[in-house]
Symmetry: C2
Amino acid sequence: MTEEKEIFHQHIQRAGLKRTAQRDLILDVFLRTEKHLSSEDLYRLVKAEEPNVGHTTVYRTLKLLVEAGLAREVRFGDGRTRYEHNYKHPHHDHMICTECGRTIEFYSAELEAIQDAIVAGHRFKPTQHSLRIFGVCAQCQRRKDVNSEETSAEPRVRFASAPNTQ
Amino acid sequence: MTEEKEIFHQHIQRAGLKRTAQRDLILDVFLRTEKHLSSEDLYRLVKAEEPNVGHTTVYRTLKLLVEAGLAREVRFGDGRTRYEHNYKHPHHDHMICTECGRTIEFYSAELEAIQDAIVAGHRFKPTQHSLRIFGVCAQCQRRKDVNSEETSAEPRVRFASAPNTQ
DNA sequence: CTCAATGCAAAGTATTTGCACGCTC
DNA sequence: GAGCGTGCAAATACTTTGCATTGAG
């Protein structure tokens, strides 16, 4: 915790920026909340503790956190950017349930190794990668089996499009 | 080619929709262009052949193409949705060069197999996945080596943030 | 006392929607 | 002829920017 704050202040100093109460509070709330927070989410949480903080400042501070290596952007297809902890939270990938929105994090060394091999074969120098698997989580599958509505045989005409992979 | 058009018209009929000149043209231009087209790109190409086509119609028709299984959405972090051919273009992943924007498509059965195994371990039912590797392509690496400017030892203070993975 | 930070409002993007008119089926 | 399709303009959602004021170093 304190470690992250130190990193942030170092980053601020090195970049010739200034330490402010807003930035400290935003970082603090971010660190306390182990979730995939959108700017809006964080804004609301911060606002609850200190109403005179603007949305803009939250956006700007989140960028600072990314620069400082404390946060990482992720997008799950609901149109908004989310942020997760990056410090001592090594790279991982996500499964995203398109029914309930739940996300499951996972890591596979094998997967990483194969990616490295592919990339090397193309003389491509990777800086970052993102694997997202969209689908239905175990809980939602069960829930659907129980309320097995729509036993009707007639197919629906208009299909829902595939989930956005934005 | 004609095969895709037939699929489209079947989809249109089955859904109780109507065949129009605009839709036919948009599909035609899309099929002729083997690229990752944004709605804007496609709009411009279509407009060049038939000026009285609206942006809205292109957006709506692209959705239809996705529904019909002819197109697939992809996002590379420049904030806009792109579309690639989906019919007889089986699943593949992308490397995206953050210098020149070039994309390299690849496919690895091994990669897919490992993903399937991971997913199965979580009783997660995948519907779709997206792996994007961001980095610098071979050409851009070479280009940078040649114009080796910035031999200066002093580090720049403000870091560019990591590429968006939107 | 200087220059960065803040927060409001306004501007940007990318995409979607309301609606009157036009065109398929 | 009924109802979907079209294209414009307006609306939306998320994020960024301009600017005058406030505040940190």
